[in-house]
Symmetry: C2
Subunit: 190 residues, 2 copies
């Protein structure tokens, strides 16, 4: 998606420590006209895949997942992050390691919202090391549902999470893949 690459070039900021700041259009502040186009783009990629549900994780994935789900005309579900793993019989739960905060957290979703007959598209704003997505994939497997694929707005290709998922046969589509970035600029994957 050239659109996303252009937007990142125009409005994204590379900070030290491998952080790409897109808070002014994709996260915290959201350019809703752009959001609608992202939703259409993701829906276009997965329209033939029989998706019955879009799954994401709070909080920054919600707007993008909602936009994609609106275009696909399916429900959107978001997993919640919990500090503690208070598993009861009514939820699916998985553990995710956060390198940013060097801590584990738990993601949970009610069993009512992931069903064995679901074909689930995972949507998130960033795909970096892929740990959060692997947690979501674990929830899908616990539910006995099927994974249709992954759609990320921005993939940090140099962190390898997306390519590792692809190597396992999972369809991963990112609207922009960054192979390198530093103070000199951003190099997108062709």
């Amino acid at each position: 998606m050239r659109l996303m690459e252009e937007k990142i070039r125009q409005e994204g900021k590379v900070l030290s420590g491998g952080i790409l700041k897109v808070g002014n259009f994709l996260n915290q502040q959201i350019d809703t006209r752009f959001l609608r186009r992202i939703g259409q783009e993701i829906a276009g990629l997965y329209r033939q895949e029989g998706v019955t549900k879009v799954l994401t994780i709070e909080a920054s994935g919600i707007a993008i997942a909602a936009a994609a789900a609106m275009e696909l005309d399916v429900p959107m579900v978001f997993a919640k992050k919990h500090k503690t793993s208070n598993v009861d019989g009514e939820i699916y739960s998985s553990t995710v390691h956060s390198f940013t905060h060097n801590t584990d957290y738990h993601i949970v979703v009610s069993r009512d919202y992931l069903l064995p007959e679901d074909r689930v598209l995972l949507v998130d704003d960033f795909l970096a090391n892929g740990h959060a997505l692997r947690g979501l994939i674990d929830l899908i497997r616990q539910a006995g549902a099927e994974l249709a694929g992954v759609a990320a707005a921005i993939e940090k290709g140099f962190q390898g999470g997306g390519d590792a998922l692809r190597a396992e046969g999972i369809r991963v589509e990112s609207l922009a893949v960054i192979d390198r970035m530093d103070e000199n600029g951003i190099v997108f994957r062709p």
Copy 2:
């Protein structure tokens, strides 16, 4: 909005302790066709108000705020919840008391995303005691921006937060106002 009342009657569940469960269409799982209609309804109510930005709070308000902002064709901003108040010069911050968890939390938004020239519509899924909304109003005042009004998907009228805001001259529009609810059913405000 009859639509919201019907949806609550059909799919909402009243739990003990004054909790209305709408997780299967408005929160955690979101009915995106319904979400689009909510967005249109909110936009219709505020279209003449010169709104430049929609503001909400993570996480459950994001989808509704995004849907409304898409219809109004303005950016959407969400305040983040923090456990600690690590105020620096780059953010506006306010403190909110949560009765549910009997604790204070802090809401923050980058100064870049709330500007003195903004006319802000607050959107949230629930309006109960109104404390979270008052925190958001505080952020708007700190930014020197103007409050256009409040739109809530569901107002728990019996908790009084919405009426208190109205008494202060703030425009508050809720798509359904619940005046009473218990195991016998839900009574909507006419």
